[in-house]
Symmetry: C2
Subunit: 500 residues, 2 copies
Amino acid sequence: MATEKTLKARSPRGFADRSAADIRATEEMVAKIRAVYERYGFEPVETPLVEFTESLGKFLPDQDRPNEGVFSFRDEGDDDSSEWLSLRYDLTAPLARYVAQNYERLPKPYRSYRLGWVFRNEKPGPGRFRQFMQFDADTVGAASPAADAEMCMMMADVMEALGIKRGDYVIKVNNRKIWNGALDGLGIASAKHLTVLRAIDKYDRLQLGGVRELLGRGRKDESGDFTPGAGLEPETISEIERLLAAKEIDVLSGAKTNVNQLDVLEGSRLTVNQAYRTGLDEVRAIASHCVSAGYMTDRITIDPSVVRGLEYYTGAVFEAELLAEIPNEKGQPVVFGSVGGGGRYDGLVGRFMKENVPATGFSIGVSRLQAALSALGKLKTAVGSGPVVVLVMDKARTGDYQKMVADLRAAGIPAEMYLGDSGMRAQMKYADKRDAPLVVIQGGDEKAKGIVQVKDMREGKALAAGVADHETYREARLGQGEVPEGELVAAVTRMLGRAP
Amino acid sequence: MATEKTLKARSPRGFADRSAADIRATEEMVAKIRAVYERYGFEPVETPLVEFTESLGKFLPDQDRPNEGVFSFRDEGDDDSSEWLSLRYDLTAPLARYVAQNYERLPKPYRSYRLGWVFRNEKPGPGRFRQFMQFDADTVGAASPAADAEMCMMMADVMEALGIKRGDYVIKVNNRKIWNGALDGLGIASAKHLTVLRAIDKYDRLQLGGVRELLGRGRKDESGDFTPGAGLEPETISEIERLLAAKEIDVLSGAKTNVNQLDVLEGSRLTVNQAYRTGLDEVRAIASHCVSAGYMTDRITIDPSVVRGLEYYTGAVFEAELLAEIPNEKGQPVVFGSVGGGGRYDGLVGRFMKENVPATGFSIGVSRLQAALSALGKLKTAVGSGPVVVLVMDKARTGDYQKMVADLRAAGIPAEMYLGDSGMRAQMKYADKRDAPLVVIQGGDEKAKGIVQVKDMREGKALAAGVADHETYREARLGQGEVPEGELVAAVTRMLGRAP
């Protein structure tokens, strides 16, 4: 194949390759999450990665420029017609399209889960990719707060299934209607609502002081960049702070209960506003379901600072937050924060139908959660997870080596014959890179004696890594060494600790 | 959420949604394929769905028009620069980029498998999608025919792991160099090679007669469309037919052996051509490895009509073919044909490096193979695979129902409370749609007596579908009916035949 120039091997920024360890860790996580979703009666469904751009709609936060946020391209039809297609930016907008398209056929309420890649045409950064994985669960066709409560309880169960201890995470609940009503009730112009909500959304990162600046004149960050504020009056800011005070009640310590949080929200003069009242009633109903099932308040709590960025939410909003401190890129321990979220989007399916269809859901950021679990040491790979490697000591005898490999494979043991063109030293190095548990060697001397050498590669590695003691590999050490040719499979089986 | 108009819920042509049954069937298949790949010592790796367009190169067949074949879009950088990105059209071109980028770090030879979606911007048709799934295995850095032989043996093992009986499939081997050498040796101009190879590639569909027409003046198909031929002289066509005669030796019947096929190729006057000789030697070496391991000729055979469409192949080419007859869209039994293929692409990694890196691989068309297995009845879903559904008989008592569901889930039993707003009849219909194995009912009468009703939904369904006899559900039938409230979990566990 003639090529004019040598290309540089590179990937577009924000698109990452995944190693075997990454993939296996994701699979382990995903299996645990799926088991919880299935226990809650959700069933899988998948939509394609490409949709009509108009089907997806424009619900991403901070989309000030056209063409920002999604990857789009034109689809040329046969008849010179063309339409815009986009890579999906989440798994919710495609679900709405799917449900509308299959409405008559689907059971209602329709409970589904969906795992897949989503794409954001944004500036990538550390831990921020343009292709990342989400794992969502949604109930479409149920207006009941019981459906929202179930989402929150299920996410709590997911966190625990992943090995995150109770108290090291929290599922936070709020309702968009509370803030919509509050801002209206405070006489804040609609045009300013988004700026105010974005300020509130930054509570966890900037604390009350930072939010206060953003609600007022503005805030200068450490780098000296200035973010203009919403320009609210001091008394308006105070009223917002009074609502946020509910957040400050540390429910996880057990000192207080959610009743107090509801009391704070209930005590506001804003309860005269209809939307505010409705939002509060819905939060109370969700809390009540969670109390019945025993999930309140050690796993699920009310938090008025939860806003969520996507614009399609219409009522309840949730967020799953890790409270454990995890070292950041600079090695400083920081609270990891959000690993997923969701809420009620009663208008999204209705974009495709004459009637509105209530819906609620939760999305887990798999890639992000995996980074957290990995930092917490919850995802470990065993030493020696590669295949048994049969070395090629005599190139004229590859048929014999091939036969050994075939016998091992037939016994269900991952095995391979070295396929390169190098000496024993390079072959041993290869076996080490492959994380081979055992290496099988048969040179001329061994062949003459009718034996093979089986060498254990794990013990030294595991001891060096400090992940096992000598006892772990006792069986293997006893088996190591010369083995009669005909007993290779039995010896390897025993050394790997497999059932024969 | 105000929308001006109601959108039509639709997907772009060639992009399909996948149901729970589809997804589960794919998972079952993929797990079986993965187990074989791992047994052969291959490890997983994943590349992103988006690559630089130039990294992918142009190797798709029939790409006469620009922008054809791949989905591409521009990536606007921060500095007004922009580059073309594309959705990957296969899993081989991205692997070449990945290996070149990580060359020093990777074990060599590098054996990997990759599962993922690929995209073709082509005209979709029945069973032909623009997004489909492939599951590839590749060995990069091994020039040895043993690596090619291993690919073929592994694919034979994959077919059998999927339940396809020996004799119902065949792995065919050929070598591009044979045809390159043959066409050169026959004095056919390079410009005509592609037309000739495409004609040969159609052998399975059109038989010898059709190929002969396409090599000569051309061929009119059933619809009356005329395909111009390569315009070869009759004696040149005869020579090509002599090579194709090797294909006609029915190795699977056991009547002949591959030696005969090699004899046919060896007997040609074209052996004076260097490329032809090299190709023949490589095929012989692959065959010899397969003979040693006992895979020849009942599973792997030589077939000179195998060409493969992708342009990056440089030597050996393989194809996995299902020989079983499967009803087509019109209900006529037809040989299903190719479900995967591959070959040696020694130039692809070299596009990114100063040196050439030998490589060989195999790609399984997961979506296509799944269609075949499904038609062959190899993928079946059990009746009653949905969750236990707890009906809401009294809306004031959802707390009690929620509690029952929580108890069942805590015992690991998929369960849900009905979340809609309908009467008992609709709820039973819902449970049926969800394929619920059992339904739990507690109205006022039952509550007063301290019992719940557990109803089995599977028996009637299974008997109607003819997939089980009465004996299968004996346990469940005995358990069906009234159960003391406190024994709900135990009763459901027993009825589902789960370990308590």
